[in-house]
Symmetry: C2
């Protein structure tokens, strides 16, 4: 198995343990479950919980910290966490002002986070939910998956919570981001499941996948590998069909196995093509934010910004995995 690991069954628990050991003053693990929370707590503010299957690191635990998430629920690799686990996350994030759940649009996540919401409400915690569905590779809007755009939701909603806004206000600005943000990704190689060692899809070395998901799913189209300028054009053209506001924040997100050199190289072409189309990239983010194990590829996310969103994007955060 071409992975650094001890035992596939402990892939997630070992990773969570390592994360907390590396940052003991910053993170705290909830006893007995792969849920991580801010050690400094969230008293008097709206709590923010995200998570889902693991394999997307630094998402989601890496976005815990003042100004972003309060707790992250780390399911097994590409597997939705149970409602009980999410409930632990909600309790860990509860600072007395309610908790917002940021859920990616997958049937399992939506169902399990919803059940956890009900359980938490029975325990007297006010909970609300937003569902992110930024992946335009899927045509039907209700089926669109939540991918890297989720990180912008974490950042903006987290900054709003830190400002002291109410649960309904934090939810409103999260919904505003969700209504605007659009993403699409590609891969030169698949990722491999820790347990089976199997790839998410079989791909010839000369081929690439356009419109991949973040759970090892193949893309919506398979093509011969092209020069990066052509790959970028395909993603930029599809995204700019949907995103017509020209003042944008942009995320060029590595899929986990992509070296930073290739991300910056790719950014040159992204920048040139968007500028040529009249876009004003007021905040570019280049790095690994929402990954898919060791997949080699990238996704592009466009978020039209107004002054409110921009201010919240620029607000400081202590989250270890979020770099501007």
């Amino acid at each position: 198995m071409d992975k650094l690991m001890q035992d596939a069954n402990r892939f997630v628990s070992d990773m969570v343990e390592g994360l907390v050991l590396a940052h003991p003053d910053f993170y705290e693990k909830v006893e007995g479950v792969n849920v991580v929370k801010r050690k400094d707590g969230v008293s008097g503010k709206v709590g923010l919980v995200s998570g889902g299957g693991s394999g997307h690191e630094p998402a989601h635990a890496g976005f815990i910290g003042e100004g972003m998430l309060s707790a992250a629920v780390c399911g097994e690799v590409f597997t939705s966490p149970t409602p009980d686990m999410v409930l632990e996350g909600i309790k860990a994030a509860d600072g007395g002002k309610g908790v917002l759940l940021v859920v990616k649009n997958y049937a399992g996540d939506v169902m399990n986070f919803d059940m956890a919401k009900e359980l938490a409400e029975m325990e007297g915690i006010e909970v609300d939910t937003v569902v992110v569905n930024d992946d335009i590779a899927i045509k039907k809007e209700s089926d669109r998956r939540g991918v890297a755009g989720t990180v912008f939701v974490h950042k903006v909603a987290g900054a709003a919570a830190q400002e002291g806004r109410s649960l309904s206000e934090v939810k409103a600005v999260a919904e505003k981001v969700i209504s605007r943000v659009r993403s699409m990704g590609m891969a030169l190689s698949p990722c491999y499941m820790p347990e089976s060692g199997k790839p998410g899809f079989e791909l010839h070395p000369d081929e690439m996948e356009i419109g991949i998901g973040i759970h090892g799913e193949k893309g919506v189209e398979r093509k011969a590998i092209a020069p990066v300028e052509d790959i970028v054009r395909e993603l930029v053209d599809r995204l700019t069909n949907e995103v017509t506001d020209k003042k944008i924040a942009l995320m060029l997100n590595g899929m986990g196995g992509t070296p930073i050199s290739e991300l910056y190289l790719t950014y040159k072409y992204v920048h040139e093509q968007l500028i040529a189309k009249g876009y004003d990239i007021v905040r570019p983010y280049v790095g690994n934010y929402m990954t898919s194990l060791e997949m080699h590829g990238f996704s592009l996310t466009l978020l039209p910004v107004d002054d409110e969103i921009l201010g919240l994007l620029d607000a400081p955060t202590k989250a270890i995995g979020f770099h501007s």
Copy 2:
């Protein structure tokens, strides 16, 4: 070719261009050459220059910024920059108080940085040099390569320069770090040269290399892939043979294609084994710092610290690629 790129001949120049486009207020490219400098300048402080072949991103340009490097010289992939390029780096870093060159111990780098030093001195710039040789995979000390420990030299010397120390004082603390820091790395897979598409070494999927360099060199030993605990034990045992001071900063460095999940998973075993041996890991750094294109693997770096080094490690830096 399984890389995101346009043209192998423009791999480095496209990457440098993308980096500067993504952070236009922060970086400035020197006209006509792949040298990057701090846009805010270094007036009245000692300047710090590093670099060498590219392919090690975020090293070295990612470590430019207040509190770390003043300029980085980006040679072609795994190829020493010419003396003329290094001279441009020195000029870009000159703030009137002299310039320190942080060179990794490779014959080409040592020679070309030395020639550039002479050229700069002829132009009236005071220049001094330190050479990092932290890789204990090589037995003979004079042949030891500079690897991830170089990043600790950048951080400590950069903070000392920022404090306003003189060139000889900055050099002295850099030498102190070099005398203490030791590293060793391993890989599950090779990296591939952009031009030829060839791997640095051929490796069966069930094998790994122990004691790799950062230029695609194979390791000093080839073995069957083992559980990560055993891999870590081998590196930890070799490093703790050389590093006997117990209060250490530690860098667990990804080689470029290693997902963060595996780095944190690996950290759990590193932490446990060093604690069991009586070490006190006062500052753990986990991430991609000194990479080798898309190589999948990691290196471990141990740096015994005193109050001076610790203070300089903890000093703030604006460098985009350095995260604690």
